[in-house]
Symmetry: C2
Subunit: 273 residues, 2 copies
């Protein structure tokens, strides 16, 4: 029986994993350095566990202790019971989902595994917004992409906001980090992928035409950040530049919508469930 | 010459249009009632004017007076010059884009015009989130839909947040309100549109198959709110229920991404620029 431990002192060192959750700058440094990420809410916590991430501890208010008792029993991780005021004092915000878990990161696999098995990859370059990372993962998982490769300057898919926006798909869709520097796409090409760069450039080819040519091929779709788009280097490395045809003089979609449309356009017919 | 009028009293009645902009509940009641909407920032103000909305007044900080002088001259509307502290005091937030305009709403046309001319319509049911309304308009404009019909319980496309997220497309893409109550879709059907209801229901038909059948037809795509989706009444009124095929066990996309994918799937080939 894993008995929750009441904690009343906000400076209790056992709560250290949960401090300053609203300080994005602090947390984005600290969480990877400490091998830590936060899962918030019943569903997300269970999805993180199902994906194989070990639990370090849970922080619960009393009304959540019972609902999470099975998780506490299954993991054996310490459970700290706090009142709502203390939870807010420690984390910096009103924890309206009532349950927080500090999860242990696992070593990120090298890209080789994905490069060996995937047919449809997303390559994100310098996408440093947690909301956009989460939204791209959700769309990629929903629309049949097999995995995500991220340049080192992309935001963390396991950051709390990314996890939430992704609806937990950051746990289920495989991803890996590409190496720094020039030639970072070489391994993708050498693994047999055609590199498609998504751009609003009207000189690029209509993604519908290119998608038809990609049937049966292994394809990596390169996406850049909102605003800046892909780097000149990524555009130069691509085999083909593709665009989503635009109407009414609109020049772009937001990253999440553009990514979803591109994933849909590239999706291979799948057996229906 | 339209000379800016310095204002230093936050209670000056000439600033009444600009008070309490962060109070969403207040503004969503007051703006339609007062025939008013807010345009924020140089680009959005100009787009609203280009779309034919009359200007009631502008509220500018000094460093924006010169940049907006041509707009002031062209409209003849009063320009109130305030310092940043006063702007923040009146509006409730830091006006980082430096220029605000109170614009006059124009009478919304009845749906008949759109129903007579459009080939691809979006019908939004009870989408009451301003961000989602803005995102749907941006996607609809970019991806070639001809206009939007909104049930009376949809959020206001001219609310500040909707305008911003839409990138100003709420000004350029025609829209109209449907009547209240049962039979609200009758006029759409009677105008010759096939009604397609977008749903995550796995029993619905793959939108790719249905889109192929819609080539040359007049099509209205019904979208519901995040979470609740379309009402039973709307689903029953539809000619066909369509779904975006989902992978990896994901059950849905967010409204903006789902809408963008559906618009893309239904887009008719257009002459390239």
């Amino acid at each position: 029986m894993n008995v929750p431990v009441p904690v009343t002192d906000p400076d209790d060192p056992r709560l250290a994993d949960y401090t300053g959750l609203t300080d994005v700058a602090l947390r984005r440094r600290r969480e990877p350095a400490d091998g830590l990420f936060m899962a918030e809410g019943d569903k997300v916590i269970r999805r993180a566990l199902d994906a194989g991430y070990p639990m370090r501890s849970m922080l619960l208010t009393s009304r959540w202790a019972e609902a999470m008792a099975d998780v506490a029993a299954a993991t054996g991780a310490p459970v700290y019971l706090v009142d709502e005021a203390l939870a807010e004092h420690v984390t910096g915000y009103h924890v309206h989902r009532g349950a927080l878990a500090a999860m242990q990161r696992t070593p990120l696999p090298p890209p080789a595994g994905l490069l060996a098995t995937a047919r449809r990859l997303v390559v994100l370059e310098a996408v440093n917004d947690h909301t956009n990372i989460g939204a791209v993962f959700r769309g990629a998982a929903a629309l049949g992409m097999d995995g995500v490769l991220l340049t080192p300057d992309c935001a963390d898919p396991l950051y709390r906001r990314s996890v939430k926006v992704s609806m937990g798909t950051v746990f289920s869709l495989p991803y890996a980090r590409l190496p720094h520097g020039p030639g970072h796409l070489d391994a993708v090409r050498e693994a047999g992928f055609r590199l498609l760069a998504l751009t609003p450039d009207p000189r690029a080819r209509d993604i519908r035409e290119v998608a038809a040519e990609e049937a049966g091929a292994r394809t990596a779709l390169l996406l850049g950040a909102e605003g800046n788009g892909l780097s000149a280097r990524a555009l130069a490395a691509a085999d083909v530049r593709v665009r989503i045809p635009m109407a009414h003089g609109v020049d772009s979609l937001n990253v999440a919508a553009a990514a979803a449309v591109a994933f849909f356009a590239l999706a291979e017919p799948r057996p229906e469930p």
